[in-house]
Symmetry: D2
Subunit: 367 residues, 4 copies
C-alpha cells in the first residue's frame, strides 16, 4: 500500500495516463497515430527521479506541469504539442487517484477475506459458549461468546461492502480538459473518454473536476471501515486487561513487548487499529471540507484530497492486516470467561444469541 | 424538522415504542394481551412535560429511565413490570433515532425534488449559452452555462441517493435487550422484533447496540449532501460578486438585506448553506468517533450520536430548503455573462458542454 | 449555561449592545444625548418573543436585522435613524458572543474550583498508597494512587488556565461598522469603542470581523478542557469495571441506574464527560474552518461560529459539573486496590510518586 | 522541515536521547560513569537504516523497542542493561517529538519574520489608499487598503505568538519510566530529569505520559496559524480574480502556470495555503481525540499524535514559506483598485482605517 501511494507510483500512473490518452485520441482520429505511438513509448520509458519531480510539483502546485514538460522534452518537437492533448492537470491528478483507489481496494480485499473467514469460524464455534456481556463498562447479562465475534464481523463486513460499492461507482477516469467541457476534440471527447477508461480499467463518466461527492464518499467509507476494525480492537484490548483476561492477541515475534517491562504482553495490534481510528474522523472531515469547490475547478480543496485519501488507505491497510492476524490467532481463555461469568452471578441465559449469530453469518455469506 | 427533533417529539416516539413493544410482545404471547392494551393506551395518553423529562434524562444519563418510570407509575401495579419488558434504554434511544431518520428523509425529499427540477430546467435551457469557465478562481475557457447547473444537480442528486439508500438500509429498529441477546422471550424475540418493526414502519434486523456503522453512514451521507448543496452556494456567491454579476439569488422579502447598508443584496441563502458546510465535516467526524464502541453497549459514544445526527439533519434541512428557493428563482444576468465571456478573450467554444449536460440529465432522470 | 446561550439571552444581550452603543455615541457627541436616552430606555424595555425573532433571524440570515427593525419601530421616527448608528450586524453578533463567553467562563469557574480542590485533597491523601499502574491497558508497575489524581488535576487545571487566558485576551467588543473602518464617527470611533467596552465589561480592541483567531482559540481551549475532563472520566470508568473495582462514581439519586438491570451501577457521570469528548474535536474543527474568512467580513464562516461555540460551552459545562460531583464523592475501594496490586506480583515500589504529586500540587497552588 | 520529521531525524534524536540519558544518570550516580560513556559513544556512532528500523517499529508498535535493542547489541554485554535505564518507550517517543517541536518553531520563525515585515510595510504604505471593502462577497463600503494588510498581519502574528507560547510552555522532556513514577533511581529521578532536559535543550517537568494537553495545545495553535495564513490566501485569491484584479501573487519561475492554458496565472501560493487549511481542522481534531488517554499510558491515542503533529508542522511550514514569498512580492494594481472603488459608487470615506492600521502595527511592534 505504501508503494502504491509513493511518489514513484504516482509518476508511473501519471505517465500511464499520458500514454493511454495519446492512444485513445489516435484511435478516434484526434491526433495522428504515429505521434501517439511515440508518446506512448516515451511515457513507458521515461525515467523520472521521484524526489526531483515531487519538488518541482510542490513548487508548481501540481504534478502534471513538470511531468508533462519532461515528457514533451523527450519527444521530437513536432510531437510535443500532442502530449497531454486536450487534457488538464486535474485530469491527470484525479485519474491517478482513482487508479490508486481501485488497486488499493484489491490490496485490502485479501485481508478482508481473512478477517471475515476467521471471525466467522470463531462466531460459529463459540455461539453457545456463555460469557458475561458488558454494557457501559459494567457487567450486564450473559451473552453467547460467538455473538461478540459475529457483531465484529457484521460491522467490518458492512463497512467493507460500502467501501467496495463506493469505489465501484466512483472510481472513474477524470477527463474533461481545462474547463471540464472536453473542448478541442471535434465532438469525439466522449469516445476518447471511453477508450481511455477501458485502457486504464476504470469506469467512464462525465467530467467531475468540481464535483467531489465521489472522493468524499470513498473517504467516508474508509473512515467507517477503520472505525469498524477499531471496534474489534477496542473490545479485545478491554477483554485482555489482566483482571479480565478473556482473550489476548496472538503472540507474534517482535510484537507486543515492552522496552522496559519484560512481563508485559501489549495489545499492539489493537493499538495500531485504535491509533488509526483516532486519526480517521479528522481525515474524513478534511475530505468533506473540499466539497464546496469553487466553480469549474476549485482552489485548495481537491488539491488537498490526494494526501488525505492516501493516509486513509494506509491506515485502513495497516489496520485490516493487523486485525486479520489477530482474528486468525486470537487467544481465547475459556477458563477466564467461565470464571468472570460465574463471578458476575447473573446466571447463564444467553437468550437468542445463537439465532442472532446464525442470522448474521447467513446474511454475510449471502453478500 | 425542528419539531421532529424536539424533546416533545422524542418523548412521543419513545412512548410509541413502548406501546408498540407491548402489543408486539402480546401478539407473540410474551406478555398478556390485556396488560399490553393497558400499556399501549397509557403510552398513547401519557402527557409528559418535555422540559422536566429532559432534565431528568440529563441527570439519569438516558431518557428511558425517567420515561419508563413515569409510564410504570401510570399503570396498575401488576401491569408495571410488563412495561418496557425485555428491552433496554438503548433500544428506545436507537429506535427513536431511526424513526426520526426515516421521517427526516421524507421531509427533505420535497425540497430535493424542487431543487432537482429547477436545476434540470436551468441546465437544459442554458446548455448552449456560452459563459466563461473559471478554474482556480481564474478565467479558464468557455463553458455552456447549463453545464454549471447540471454539475450542481449531479452532485446534489448523487448525495441524495446515497442518503436515501443508507437510510433505507439502516433505519432499523433497535431491539436486543440489556446485552443484545433478546433474552427472556422464550425464543420469540425475533418474532417480536418483526412485529415491532412493522408497527413502527422500520426495517428489522439483528441487534446493533455496539455496531454503529449504520448511524455513521447516515451521518456521512448527510455531510456529503450538505457539502454538495454548499458547492452550489459557493458558486452562486462567487458569481454574484459585484464585479462579476452573472447570477444573483432571487429577491425574497426580508432576506439578504443589510442592517447598515441599504444598497446591499447579500447572498443570504448561500450563507446559510455555506455555514452548514462549515459545521458538517466536524459533525461527521463526531459520528465516526463513536464507532469503536466498548463491548456490548458502549460508554459515551452512542450517547453522543443523537444530538449530532439531529444537528446534521437540521443543517441539511435548512440548507436544502433555502437552496431550492434559490434554484427556483435564480436571477441570471445574460448580459453580464456575455460581457465577462467577451472580456476574457478566450473565444466561445464550449466544447461538448451540451452533450455532457444531456448525459447528466438523462442519468438523473433514470435514477 | 443553557439560559446564557438561549435565544432570550441573545436578544437581551443584543438589546444591551444597542442601548450601550447609543449612550457611548452620545457621550462622544456622535449622536444627540436625548436620542440616546430614548434608545437606551427602549432597548431596556423592548419585549421580543424569542421564537418569532429567531425565525425572522433565520430568514434574514442575521439576528441584527429584525432586532434593529423592532427597536426602530418602537422609538419616534426622528430617533430611529440613530438606533444602531454606525454599527453592523456582525458588531452585534460578535459582541453578544463575547459577552456570553465572559459570563460562561464565570459559570464554569465555580465547578473548576470544586474539582481542583477535591482532586488536590485526594492526591495528597493517597500519594503514598501503592496501586498497580496500567499502561496500554495492561498492568505495568506500581504507582502512588494519589499520582493518578494529581495527573487528572494537572491536566484539567492546565486546560482551565488556557481557557481563562484566551478568554481574557479575546473577549473584546466587536465594533467596526459595515466595513470594519469605524466610518461616520468623525474620528471618534475609537473613543466610542472604549466607552462601549467599558459599559459591556469587555476588553476593547481594533475591529476583528474577518480575523477569527480569537474565537478559534477560545473554541480550541474549550475542546482541550473537555478532553482533560474526559481523561479523568475514562480512567474512572475503567477503574470501575467489575473485575477491577478500584473506584466508583458516588451514588447520586436517580443517576447511574439501568432501565432493565437493577443490579447495575453505571458510570453515568463519566458517560456525560466522555460523550462530550466525542463531540468536541469536531466542533473545534468547525471553529478552525472559519478562519479563512472572505475579505472584510466573510460569508458562512463567522455565522457558523455562534452555535458551535455555544455547543462547546454547554458540553464543557455539563462535563465539569458532573466531574466535580464525581471528584467530590469518589468512592475509593482500598481493599480492591491492594488486591489488584498484589495480584500483579510486581512489588510495591512507587518510585518518586510522592515527589511528583507534591510538585504538581505546588505548581497548581501557585497558579 | 521534511528532514526534521523524517525517519532518519527521529532515529538520530532518539539515539541522542539514549546517550544524554546515560550521561545524566551517570552524573547523578545512577549508573556507572564508564558505562554511560560507552553508551553515549555508541549512540552517537550507531548507524541504523531508517527503512529497516521504521518497519521494525511499525511491527513492534513503537520505535524504542528495536532501537534500544540495536543499541544494546552494539555495546558489551555488561553495559547492555544500562542502556535506556529506567526509561520507557514513550519517554523516547514524546521527548523526540518535543525536540522536533522546538526545532520546527525555529524553522518557522524566519518565514514568520519575513511575512510580518512585508505586511507591515504594505500596511503602512497603503493605509490611506481608498479601496472598496467587501463583506459577504458583496461591495460594502470603502476601506484603507492598508487596513486589509494590517488585518492579515494581526491574525498571523496573533497565531504565531500563541504557537510560540505553547511551545515554550510544553516543549518538555518526557521522563517518567514505565508507569510515570521515575522508579529505580533511588530518589534521583528528578535530578536526572533536570540534567537530561538541559542536555536536550528542553524544559523539564513532571511526567506527562497520560496527560496530553500540551501536545493538543501545540496542535491547535498550529491549526490556528495555518488558518490565519489561509485568510490571507483566501483574500488574495479573491482579489486576483480577473474581474477584480486588485492584487496578484508575484511571478515566480515555474509556479502558477497551467498545463493546458498558457494565458493563465494561477494563485498557486494561495492554493498551497488554502489546501493546508482544508486539512488542518481535521488534524487538530485528531490531536484533541487523544486527550482521554487510558490510565498511566494510553492505547492508540498518543501513538497517533506523532504523525499528526508532523503533518501540521509540514503544512504550516509550506504555507508560511509560500505566503512570505507572496507578501514580499505582492503585485498591487492601484488602477484596478481605483476603478473598482469608483464603480461601486460608494464614495471614498475610509473612516478611521489609518488609526486602526497604526494601532495594529504599534501593538505588533511591541510584542
Amino acid at each position: 500500500m505504501l508503494a502504491l501511494f509513493s511518489d514513484a507510483s504516482v509518476i508511473a500512473l501519471a505517465l500511464g495516463f499520458e500514454g493511454a490518452l495519446a492512444r485513445a485520441e489516435a484511435a478516434e482520429g484526434v491526433i495522428p497515430e504515429a505521434m501517439a505511438e511515440i508518446i506512448a513509448t516515451a511515457s513507458a520509458n521515461l525515467v523520472l527521479v521521484p524526489e526531483e519531480l515531487a519538488e518541482a510539483a510542490a513548487h508548481a502546485g501540481t504534478l502534471a506541469i513538470p511531468l508533462v514538460k519532461s515528457l514533451r522534452d523527450t519527444v521530437p518537437e513536432d510531437v510535443a504539442s500532442f502530449v497531454h492533448f486536450g487534457a488538464t492537470s486535474q485530469d491527470v491528478a484525479d485519474t491517478v487517484l482513482m487508479c490508486q483507489v481501485k488497486r488499493a481496494i484489491s490490496l485490502l480485499a485479501a485481508d478482508h477475506g481473512r478477517i471475515v473467514k476467521a471471525l466467522g469460524v470463531l462466531a460459529e464455534r463459540h455461539a453457545a459458549t456463555p460469557a458475561i456481556g458488558r454494557t457501559l463498562l459494567q457487567d450486564a447479562l450473559p451473552i453467547g461468546l460467538g455473538l461478540r465475534f459475529a457483531q465484529w464481523l457484521a460491522g467490518i463486513d458492512n463497512a467493507w461492502h460500502r467501501l467496495a460499492n463506493e469505489s465501484e461507482k466512483n472510481a472513474k477516469i477524470a477527463f474533461g480538459g481545462p474547463a471540464g467541457t472536453r473542448a478541442g476534440f471535434d465532438g469525439k471527447g466522449a469516445a476518447v473518454a471511453k477508450r481511455l477508461a477501458e485502457a486504464l480499467n476504470l469506469a467512464v463518466g462525465v467530467p467531475w473536476h468540481g464535483r467531489r461527492t465521489g472522493t468524499a464518499a470513498i473517504g467516508a467509507a474508509l473512515g467507517i471501515l477503520i472505525g469498524a476494525l477499531a471496534k474489534m480492537a477496542r473490545d479485545i484490548s478491554l477483554l485482555a486487561q489482566n483482571a479480565i483476561g478473556e482473550v489476548r492477541e496472538p503472540t507474534i515475534a517482535g510484537r507486543g513487548g515492552s522496552s522496559a517491562m519484560a512481563h508485559k504482553r501489549n495489545p499492539t495490534g489493537c493499538q495500531i487499529a485504535l491509533a488509526a481510528a483516532h486519526r480517521a474522523p479528522g481525515l474524513v472531515a478534511a475530505m468533506l471540507a473540499s466539497l464546496p469547490a469553487e466553480e469549474e475547478r476549485g482552489l485548495g480543496g481537491w488539491q488537498a484530497e490526494g494526501p488525505v485519501l492516501a493516509d486513509l488507505f494506509l491506515l485502513a491497510s495497516g489496520s485490516i492486516a493487523v486485525m486479520a492476524d489477530v482474528a486468525e490467532g486470537l487467544d481465547i481463555n475459556e477458563a477466564a470467561i467461565a470464571h468472570n461469568l460465574s463471578a458476575a452471578r447473573l446466571g447463564d441465559d444467553i437468550g437468542e444469541s445463537q439465532t442472532i449469530v446464525e442470522a448474521i453469518l447467513s446474511f454475510h455469506r449471502k453478500e
